[in-house]
């Protein structure tokens, strides 16, 4: 199965994010994010600009006329929406195959990243946290899984199975000597992301109390992850084996109905983005995009053979 050092060393083998994506993450994840600077960075990346314009021009996004350049897209959608779209699209290649070590279907980890990020943005805005930073931290919260994927690809073997009722992080620590939250925080540190974002990734399943280093950001990312899970996003063999912190809910004044509404928001965000992308991003033949035959007009059920 390989040693703990093997797993940690996989962090060095992970392909780096595109330079524009890394810079965007650093700006949006930092204090007082400069959205104008974020837009300037998007403009320097031709493929990212094209992707943003594609979604900005999609019918699902509600665009009435065609947006021909990035400046018009920013005017129409706002710098925040454009920046977040750019990050979602930039993250897609990294997440497309993520989660395979734990039977997460292809493309599903990206959907979970998007759903969680949008939920965190919404909850953060409500709770007085910086929405950009919440978005970035939640988007990247499961990047540690990439290390397990590479490790599994190298060593092979069967998919390890957690016991019923076992906290999945404890299972990872028992099986591999380390968990994906710790690996993710380490990877984010190597990418030069702000300390607060790295900390939120590290604690996204078990946010500490305020007097133990906790913060609104950590609670927001934790609950956004739970909301995404309730929306069925990113489920593999880990299922629902992550506790939801009652203390985090109490600290933020979030009740059960709030969390359910957040789960709905996470799901709808993913549906909309998939509709904007034509349902093609991050799916293979056996994992088609959600068909929503009853929901989104013009997004027909997919029949495969």
């Amino acid at each position: 199965m390989g040693s703990l050092m093997d797993i940690i060393s996989t962090l060095d083998r992970l392909p780096p994010l595109p330079a524009a994506a890394t810079r965007l993450l650093q700006i949006l994840g930092g204090p007082d994010p400069d959205l104008d600077e974020a837009v300037r960075i998007i403009r320097t990346d031709e493929s990212l600009t094209a992707s943003v314009l594609r979604t900005a021009n999609s019918a699902a996004f509600g665009a009435r006329g065609r947006t021909l350049d990035l400046r018009s897209a920013v005017v129409r959608l706002g710098a925040r929406a454009v920046s977040h779209h750019a990050l979602e699209l930039a993250a897609a290649p990294a997440f497309r195959d993520a989660g395979s070590a734990f039977e997460v279907r292809r493309g599903e980890q990206w959907r979970a990243a998007i759903g969680g990020a949008r939920a965190a943005e919404e909850l953060g805005a409500r709770c007085g946290a910086e929405p950009e930073r919440c978005f970035v931290a939640a988007l990247l919260r499961d990047i540690g899984r990439l290390a397990f994927d590479l490790h599994h690809a190298k060593h092979g073997g069967g998919i390890p199975r957690p016991a019923a009722e076992e906290d999945f992080l404890a299972f990872e620590q028992r099986t591999f000597g380390i968990d994906h939250a710790t690996l993710g925080a380490e990877l984010a540190t190597r990418w030069g992301l702000p300390y607060e974002v790295c900390t939120a990734i590290r604690h996204h399943h078990h946010p500490p109390a305020r007097d133990e280093g906790g913060s609104v950001l950590l609670d927001v990312v934790h609950l956004a992850d739970a909301a995404a899970r309730f929306a069925g996003l990113g489920l593999g063999c880990d299922g629902l084996l992550y506790p939801v912190s009652d203390a985090a809910m109490d600290r933020l004044g979030v009740d059960r109905d709030d969390l359910e509404r957040l789960a709905l928001a996470a799901a709808v965000a993913v549906f909309q983005l998939e509709a904007e992308l034509g349902g093609a991003e991050g799916h293979d033949e056996d994992t088609p995009p959600v068909s929503h035959s009853n929901q989104i007009a013009g997004h027909p059920a997919r029949r495969t053979a």
Partner: protein
């Protein structure tokens, strides 16, 4: 809890045409060559319906029990909610000539968050709303595989009505004629 299922199962080729039901989605078909599948049932519930005479088959994948938590989303996406999705599934089945009295209904999913001290119980509430609606509409819940903490994949074969559940790498027949 899992119910005992018949040992009879008619295998279908894996390349048989299939409809995939997403989260908060519903599909029904009168094409008996079709399989219907849904993935990633965590706390969500997947409901299958099958009429042995017409071979119409349907599947719903709902997230939450009651639409009152978000009426605006319920209006746009009724299949998100059990209280709206189940009647919608019945309507779609009836439109395909299915008779609720003959219908075989099965369910899977409804898992709970580990160490849930009773605060959420989304899985349990999803299961409860299904039982209430089954009673209200005179449906017989033939078999179910619900609860626990793991996610499930659910399939139904329109030709024979066989329902299968896959969880933690193992597939079993939940119901077969």
């Amino acid at each position: 809890m899992p119910q005992p299922a018949s040992s009879i199962s008619i295998p279908r080729p894996l390349d048989a045409p299939k409809l995939t039901v997403g989260v908060a989605d519903l599909q029904a078909t009168g094409d008996r060559a079709m399989r219907i599948i849904t993935h990633a049932l965590g706390s969500c519930i997947g409901v299958t319906a099958w009429d042995p005479r017409t071979r119409a088959a349907g599947m719903l994948h709902y997230m939450l029990p009651e639409s009152k938590v978000s009426p605006d989303k319920a209006e746009r996406q009724p299949a998100m909610f059990g209280d709206l999705g189940v009647p919608l599934l019945l309507e779609r089945m009836k439109a395909l000539g299915a008779d609720p009295k003959r219908m075989v209904v099965c369910a899977a999913g409804g898992a709970e968050v580990v160490a849930d001290g009773g605060r959420f119980r989304i899985g349990a509430r999803n299961r409860t709303i299904l039982r209430k609606l089954a009673w209200k509409h005179g449906l017989l819940l033939a078999a179910d595989d619900t609860g626990g903490n793991f996610s499930r994949t659910l399939t139904i074969d329109a030709e024979c009505g066989t329902v299968r559940v896959r969880t933690q790498g193992e597939e079993r027949t939940l119901w077969a004629a």
